[in-house]
């Protein structure tokens, strides 16, 4: 297990954020990807950056890692370092073909380990836990997608870094392996490491100290998972029938197994939905249900934006959601962010 070596305190003893990104913008030929993204991560936090595919999570992580230069905005790591200056203290897992398919798993570990100044010999224990040991001497081109993710994760976690930037580490993994990865990340956090994980899998929300939702290249809200869950509008579960989508927030419902779930607008009575469903099918039920992480993901990914587009604008819908729950949308003012 890596040691805790970070010190992100100012000389006056005031704790500084370990990672502070302000108003980060980045675009490519086909348009803007990041449009003023803000994020603050404190030392020792495990933060999950969530959002659907294509909202710029990976690009943002590349900017934090020093791999891609943002066009505008500021990124400070460990108090006053740029991402490039902080590379020796960070370890990165990026999506894509970063491992060399012509090398074996073991040779990939050796290659990247030889290049990072804080690489350790912990890779044996890591690949054991990730159940990769029997395949280490096979060329990586023969690996499945999940095996490649595990190898990339092992390469990143072998480094005794202060900050880990992990781009969708659980993608393509089965549920049992996701649990192992979660356990590993929690152990690293317990050891004092700071971890930023991107994901579009609601399952990854459960290990986070804090979740930040990204949409349209911006952070739309951030908070502790329980706080965000409590802030959600009431969730309604319908079984055995379908109700008009217009009765739900954002005019959207979501299928989960044999049930339909949606968010109840404040002006909509549960009875109105029950009346709409009644008679549609015998045995249909309408119940309030505690929100899940999937509901949380769906709300900030699909419903909130639809509400904003359709009615009041994204900004006000964030404000409303956060006001009612006592959580804060990511402010653009860094001082405000520090007080959060």
């Amino acid at each position: 297990m890596p040691t805790d070596t970070t010190n992100a305190e100012r000389t006056d003893g005031v704790q500084q954020p370990l990672l502070e990104a302000r108003d980060v913008e980045k675009g490519f030929d086909d348009g803007a990807v990041l449009e003023g993204l803000d994020l603050t991560v404190e030392k020792g936090e495990l933060v999950t950056l969530m959002g659907p595919n294509g909202v710029g999570k990976s690009v943002f992580l590349s900017c934090l890692a020093g791999s891609t230069a943002p066009e505008r905005g500021e990124i400070e790591l460990f108090g006053d370092r740029s991402p490039t200056e902080a590379r020796s203290a960070t370890s990165v897992m990026l999506q894509g073909e970063t491992i060399d398919p012509d090398l074996t798993g073991r040779e990939n570990l050796q290659f990247y380990g030889d290049l990072h100044p804080r690489a350790t010999d912990d890779w044996r224990a890591l690949v054991d836990r990730l159940e990769l040991t029997p395949d280490l001497d096979r060329p990586a081109r023969e690996y499945s997608g999940g095996m490649r993710r595990k190898l990339e994760l092992a390469i990143a976690l072998t480094v005794d870094a202060d900050l880990y930037l992990l781009d969708e580490p659980t993608a393509e993994l089965d549920l049992a392996m996701i649990q192992i990865v979660h356990d590993l990340l929690l152990e690293y956090r317990e050891a004092g490491k700071t971890i930023l994980v991107t994901s579009h899998a609601p399952l990854d929300a459960q290990i986070a100290d804090r979740i930040a939702f990204v949409r349209d290249g911006r952070t739309v809200t951030t908070g502790a998972p329980t706080t965000l869950l409590e802030a959600l509008p009431p969730v309604v579960r319908i079984r055995g029938a379908m109700a008009p989508e217009s009765l739900f927030l954002g005019d959207r419902v979501f299928q989960r197994g044999d049930e339909i779930r949606g968010f109840l607008a404040s002006e909509t009575d549960l009875t109105a939905i029950e009346n709409a469903v009644e008679g549609a099918r015998e045995g249909a039920t309408v119940d309030p249900d505690p929100p899940s992480y999937t509901d949380l993901f769906n709300y900030y990914t699909y419903v909130q934006s639809a509400r904003g587009d359709a009615t009041r604008g994204v900004g006000s819908s964030v404000a409303e959601a956060t006001d009612s729950a006592g959580i804060a949308a990511e402010p653009s003012d860094p001082e405000e962010a520090e007080h959060r």
Partner: protein
């Protein structure tokens, strides 16, 4: 606290990591092993069987030796270009440089590691072809070869490989499909070989003034090697132009290597480590 601002693995350690990686890649690539070993030997044997008129038996061993050197360099040229351009293009096309840019790695260490691996593979190709020529009856008269000649042979070989690899980087930038790179590299090397009169040893096959074979790097290096090995008095078959065994021609070859290496550093810094996706 262990957070010095620019801590990184020593440059030599980084270069060694890149060299080892490329040697490991090449070991598994059967096509490249064939290109390194089988390809130049095949061309040597074909040339001796089809293109060379039966010379005076006293001269046959020397003709075989000259062709051994020519095709040794041809093999080194092929394999360094194919390997270097192919691997660099694959790294650019894949996401390896996104990861490498996030690690404190020196672009020149990356380049040096690739150069060393490419030169080592080129040396294997060169030596195997020479050995094949020896087995075929080539006369090298090793007892006549002094330290100066060995130094010239070694230096021209290394410079030749460096030039080939630097040119290959340009090729990798232009050809964005790594899967086609080996084929394209072989075609480019064959074209260079034939357009310079078998790398300059048969300037008579060039219709116009063949003086340029003393100025293009592939033919210049080959002609320097043969002249150094056989002596300038024994290479009438590849004159005119004059055998390029002088300091001026050596400086020209060094100039090519230095200039193209500088360009390669620029390419590596700008396109691989430059920060754009």
């Amino acid at each position: 606290m262990t957070n010095p601002r620019h801590r990184s693995v020593p440059w030599t350690g980084q270069a060694r990591a890149f060299t080892r990686r490329h040697v490991q890649q090449l070991r598994r690539n059967k096509l490249l092993v064939f290109l390194a070993v089988g390809w130049p030997v095949l061309w040597y044997l074909l040339t001796m069987a089809i293109f060379i008129e039966a010379p005076d038996p006293d001269q046959l061993g020397y003709v075989k030796a000259a062709n051994g050197i020519t095709y040794g360099l041809f093999g080194a040229f092929t394999v360094t270009v194919a390997v270097f351009a192919g691997e660099f293009a694959r790294d650019l096309e894949g996401d390896r440089y996104r990861k490498l840019r996030a690690i404190p790695v020196s672009p020149t260490a990356d380049l040096a590691g690739r150069f060393v691996a490419g030169t080592a593979l080129g040396a294997c190709s060169y030596l195997v072809t020479i050995l094949a020529a020896v087995a075929h009856g080539a006369t090298f008269e090793l007892e006549r070869i002094g330290p100066t000649t060995v130094a010239i042979l070694a230096l021209t070989f290394v410079l030749f490989c460096v030039i080939a690899m630097a040119l290959a980087m340009g090729l990798a930038l232009v050809i964005t499909k790594p899967e086609h790179m080996t084929t394209i590299a072989v075609v480019v090397v064959l074209m260079a070989f034939y357009l310079t009169g078998f790398n300059g040893i048969t300037p008579g096959m060039i219709a116009e003034d063949p003086a340029f074979v003393n100025y293009l790097p592939n033919s210049l290096a080959t002609r320097m090697q043969i002249a150094a090995w056989a002596g300038t008095d024994s290479v009438e078959f590849m004159t005119p132009p004059e055998a390029p065994l002088s300091l001026e021609y050596g400086a020209l070859l060094v100039g090519y290597a230095v200039g193209l290496s500088a360009a390669a550093v620029g390419v590596m810094t700008r396109f691989a480590y430059g920060g754009e996706p």
